[in-house]
Amino acid sequence: MSTLKRQSRAEAYRHDLRGYQMGFALAAILTIVPFALVATGALPAMAVLWAIGVLGLMQIVVHVRFFLHVDLSREKREELYLMAFSGSLLVVMIAGMLWILFNMYARMM
């Protein structure tokens, strides 16, 4: 009984450890690729900017999933809703800010 318990505990540890390792590996890849794109200048500037944006967002998802441990499970629903709400507030504020200020900038040119 106790060995079984110990075994499942060791398994749980390995599972959790794999989570952190996976997160670290994915985050490293999602960091190295945009740095390499900028360093080599292999793509046109606009494509590089898009790649940086998309890979950055992907890495944020990786961090939330593997390091902050927020996923789609029921136990994490509270944190997920909190993040979704804060995120949507942020999108409204930043998008509104950029819209207004770049509009004024264009008018002043």
């Binding site: 450890l17 952190y20 900028v38 500037a45 590089v48 940086i52």
Partner: protein, 208 residues
């Protein structure tokens, strides 16, 4: 019993289990703090992006003149590795792998955090020496509003780490210490998440 112990305004939640766990409660509260911190960082990002026009450079240096890829890469590597080593400390704590292992990984994390701060201070000193000070232009004001704000957070996290190491030394890994370290872990991972935004928007976006 449950009426007297659950916090007011929370008693409508059907599942009371987590309310009786002070550590889980404190963690939820910490999430609220982090999300308001996220809004502050987000608005600093917004301000920074509005200051990326030639007009805001005010004839001073722009991102292409100031930022260098190797420095940003080293800072990123230090912080990303530190978030992983903190994860190892959290695991050692969760699975009772011994205080020494927890302390070891926390010290590695602290060292990497200090490496990050050292690199960042070096970068700022370099900028200031070249005349790129906050009052030079709107762009530089926004830069020094955003990136050192993150640096201050890492400084606070490092002080917090030192305090936790002192507490472990004095009282060992008690439930209180564990609960505090769990919140510090959340804070540290959150700071790395903000850094993903900084290296993408400020450094990579600026140099590309």
């Amino acid at each position: 019993m449950s009426v007297t112990t659950s916090p007011p305004g929370m008693s409508l939640v059907a599942d009371h289990a987590h309310e009786h766990d002070p550590a889980a409660n404190a963690l939820s509260g910490f999430w609220l703090f982090m999300m308001s911190d996220l809004i502050i960082f987000g608005l600093m990002f917004g301000t920074y992006i509005t200051m990326l026009t030639p007009m805001s450079f005010a004839g001073g240096p722009g991102p292409k003149d100031l930022f260098e890829l190797p420095g940003a890469a080293m800072e990123t590597a230090a912080l990303l590795t530190s978030t992983f080593t903190f994860g190892l400390a959290s695991l050692a704590m969760k699975y009772d792998l011994g205080v020494r292992r927890v302390v070891f990984w926390m010290m590695v994390t602290l060292a990497l955090g200090l490496v990050f701060l050292g690199l960042e201070i070096h970068e700022f000193a370099h900028m200031v020496a070249a005349g790129a000070v906050p009052q030079r232009s709107g762009f530089l004001s926004a830069f020094f509003g955003l990136v050192p704000l993150h640096g201050l957070h890492v400084t606070a996290g490092s002080i917090w780490l030192v305090m936790m190491l002192i507490q472990i030394g004095r009282t060992g890994l008690t439930e209180t210490t564990k609960s505090r370290i769990a919140r510090l872990a959340l804070f540290w991972h959150f700071l790395d998440l903000i850094w993903v935004g900084i290296f993408s928007v400020v450094y990579l976006g600026g140099i590309a």
